[in-house]
């Protein structure tokens, strides 16, 4: 019963995430950028633009200019989550890929980084009057959701261990549309339900900042209006 519920919800969430995100990306890609509006100084070539976007994605370059604290907490959170996510590939690969095995121990620290980063961001949201002013209930809830995911994950690593062999069997089966039995640990169930929530809200929330960055004309346009005539309907 529980297994079927969680497995079913995961199919639903995966479909929602994929289709919702694809739809949004299609909207962004199809909407024209009629004028040249890169925030200058900007790179003059496509390669330069790629490098600028890469710096934004990996280093949070603009945020670093803006606020060192937000940058620090934001970076800890995102890269902690990224490495923790990679660590979870061990449930999806069989045999486990070499590099996934190799990052397992780093992945544990990443979980802490993620939670510390989130806590820092939430503290800023509550303590800095300007950030408190611009926060809607959904902004707090999003942090609560992510903290719930990170926290329950750490709890399973350190306090209430779950049967990861059984979990892996479940995941492997799920991928082949024949999910096995899910260990009925409360923390695991909470962890998975929160992840499902996150996947469901992704395409209809501010999490769209992830694809949005790549379509942001102030960052993805090259500074070349003299050399290349940007056509009004152009991208």
């Amino acid at each position: 019963m529980l297994t079927a519920l969680i497995a079913g919800l995961f199919y639903l969430a995966t479909a929602t995430l994929t289709i919702g995100l694809a739809r949004k990306i299609l909207v962004y890609a199809r909407t024209p950028a009629p004028l040249k509006i890169p925030t200058t100084p900007a790179p003059t070539s496509r390669a330069g633009v790629a490098a600028r976007l890469l710096r934004e994605v990996v280093l949070f370059e603009s945020l670093f200019k803006a606020s060192k604290w937000t940058w620090l907490f934001g970076w800890l959170f995102h890269f902690g989550m990224f490495v923790a996510l990679l660590r979870h590939l061990r449930y999806f690969t069989d045999p486990v890929w070499g590099w996934v095995a190799w990052i397992q121990s780093a992945g544990i620290y990443a979980g802490f980084a993620m939670v510390i980063g989130l806590a820092g961001l939430w503290a800023r949201r509550m303590l800095v009057d300007r950030v408190r002013y611009i926060s809607a209930p959904s902004d707090h809830l999003m942090l609560a959701l992510l903290l719930g995911i990170g926290g329950s994950g750490l709890l399973m690593t350190y306090v209430w261990h779950t049967d990861i062999v059984a979990l892996k069997a479940f995941v492997q089966g799920w991928m082949r549309f024949r999910p096995g039995e899910l260990p009925a640990d409360p923390v695991l169930v909470i962890h998975l339900l929160l992840v499902i929530c996150l996947m469901l809200v992704f395409p209809i929330s501010k999490l769209l900042h992830a694809p949005g960055l790549f379509f942001s004309p102030t960052r993805n346009q090259a500074d070349d209006p003299r050399e290349r005539r940007h056509l009004p309907g152009g991208a």
Partner: protein
């Protein structure tokens, strides 16, 4: 002696600080609304239309489909707060709705309500609201407290540019009948007479003749100010304030001296006697294109080989970034100068060729600093490499002056603060906003006055020059501190000597 005002003039502190929130501090600030006479020539309804609600939402939907910037910016903000202490209007007024994210949210709240799943079904959760007359009023007030300077876009991790949102907000307001008098009246004048100031051709010719006499008297050299001269090599398009406002006109004299000394045949045009393009400010691409088209027409009619744009910030943004799209291609220009140039680029090229000689000592009575104009810094370029827009003006100042110092690092280059009067806000009905918005620049200027004895601040924007002339006295500083770069250039240039 500082000017008396009916509002509190911000106090300059030694260390710039971010103020605590004062909710509603600037809720009363709103510019005069355009009358029917100012609206209709631009294609907008003369007064608030009856079905304003549906028309506004409809126009918003259109803009979301026409501008990827707006669509992405409405979705992408995570409310991280990076921009909250970056806007000069927030720093000067402490009104939280002048934080860039809060300004965007005025529209984002409505976007969410009408265009997103979460806002349609859970409005309270995500802070979505219906579009009411009250919300519209708030838009009018706060979308006219943004100078579209893009400083926030430098610091946003997703590059969200509040200027794009402000422009969309103004466009929606104008399209339901609530336009801004100042900008729309000026655009009307450009259509009717040819420039922002409403200076007709005979008056312009007269003014230019007067300038020729003035320069002759000062220098004993026949420096010409040609108008509508067929077959000239260069068409100079400059903001009309350059024709007689102080200190602008001394910049125009500077351009004329440079062209004279370099032996360049140039001309102004009475058909395109204005570089400014307020179509940008009101977010109306159609009006922006119509205003810009006069320049293409004038260039073709006069048969020029080059186009040079005078000292004007937003005009240079339009010229550099948009002209090729809106009125291009420029295939009729000299292949050596295939794109319109900034007058600073043109002068700097001549300096590098050794075509100009300077007596820097002529400016020895001045210690000069430079105010980077927002549109030049963050929405355009000069020269062949990124950041040329910061280097070339400074090189020109150094070529013409012995004493130059920069202001605090985070207030120049890409981090420069708007003068406080840009983006269509340079009007007396917004003087409180303009004075308060100038605070961050005044603070940085004050610092170099104290530390380095700075006497003058050079600028390359007609709006900056007018704005500082107006607000400097509120901060107990002389209005004549603000000067054109080409005034410095013109004053130091050796005229009449063999090249």
């Amino acid at each position: 002696m500082a000017v008396k005002a009916e509002f509190d003039i911000p106090v300059i502190t030694n260390v710039p600080r971010t103020p605590g929130l004062r909710e509603g501090a600037m809720a009363h600030s709103r510019p005069f609304v355009a009358k029917a006479d100012h609206q209709e020539p631009l294609g907008f309804p003369g007064e608030l239309v009856e079905d304003w609600h549906d028309r506004a939402i409809g126009r918003m939907g259109e803009l979301l489909g026409e501008y990827r910037s707006l669509q992405v910016f409405m979705d992408a903000c995570v409310k991280c707060g990076a921009c909250t202490d970056k806007c000069h209007y927030y720093l000067g007024t402490a009104d939280p709705k002048n934080m860039p994210v809060a300004r965007q949210d005025l529209m984002r709240k409505v976007y969410r309500r009408y265009f997103t799943f979460a806002g349609k079904f859970f409005p309270r959760l995500v802070g979505a609201v219906d579009l009411t007359e009250e919300v519209l009023g708030e838009w009018y007030s706060y979308y006219h407290q943004c100078s579209e300077c893009r400083r926030c876009s430098v610091y946003c991790p997703y590059g969200i540019d509040t200027a794009e949102v402000t422009m969309a907000g103004r466009e929606i307001l104008a399209s339901v009948g609530i336009g801004q008098k100042y900008s729309n009246e000026i655009i009307g004048k450009v259509y009717k007479i040819g420039n922002n100031l409403g200076l007709p051709e005979p008056a312009l010719a007269d003014t230019l003749e007067g300038l020729e006499e003035e320069v002759k008297e000062d220098t004993d050299v026949d420096v010409r100010f040609p108008l509508d001269e067929q077959g000239a090599d260069v068409l100079l398009v400059t903001p009309s304030a350059d024709f007689f406002a102080e200190p602008h006109v001394d910049g125009l004299i500077g351009y004329a001296k440079v062209f004279h000394q370099a032996g360049i045949r140039w001309t102004l045009s009475s058909h395109a006697s204005e570089a400014a393009n307020f179509g940008l400010f009101i977010g109306s691409q159609g009006n922006m294109q119509r205003v810009a088209m006069r320049i293409r027409e004038a260039a073709l009619e006069l048969g020029v080989k080059r186009i040079v744009v005078g000292e004007c910030g937003h005009a240079w943004r339009v010229a550099y970034s948009y002209w090729n799209t809106l009125i291009g291609p420029f295939d009729f220009l000299d292949p050596d100068y295939p794109a319109p140039q900034h007058v600073c680029e043109a002068t700097w090229d001549l300096v590098q060729q050794g075509a100009l000689r300077f007596n820097r000592e002529n400016n020895d009575d001045k210690v000069v600093t430079f105010h980077d104009s927002c549109n030049v810094s963050r929405a355009s370029r000069m020269g062949s490499m990124p950041g040329g827009q910061f280097l070339i003006p400074r090189e020109l100042i150094r070529a013409a002056c012995n004493h130059f110092v920069d202001m605090r690092q985070e207030t120049i280059h890409e981090g420069t603060f708007c003068c406080g009067g840009g983006g269509g806000l340079l009007t007396d009905d917004l003087v409180e906003l303009r004075v308060k918005g100038a605070l961050p620049r005044m603070q940085a200027l004050h610092e170099v006055i104290e530390q380095h004895g700075v006497t003058h601040m050079a600028a390359i924007c007609a709006i900056c020059k007018s704005q500082f002339t107006k607000v400097l006295p509120y901060y107990d500083l002389g209005m004549d501190m603000i000067i054109s770069i080409h005034q410095l250039v013109g004053d130091a240039l050796e005229l009449g000597v063999e090249r």
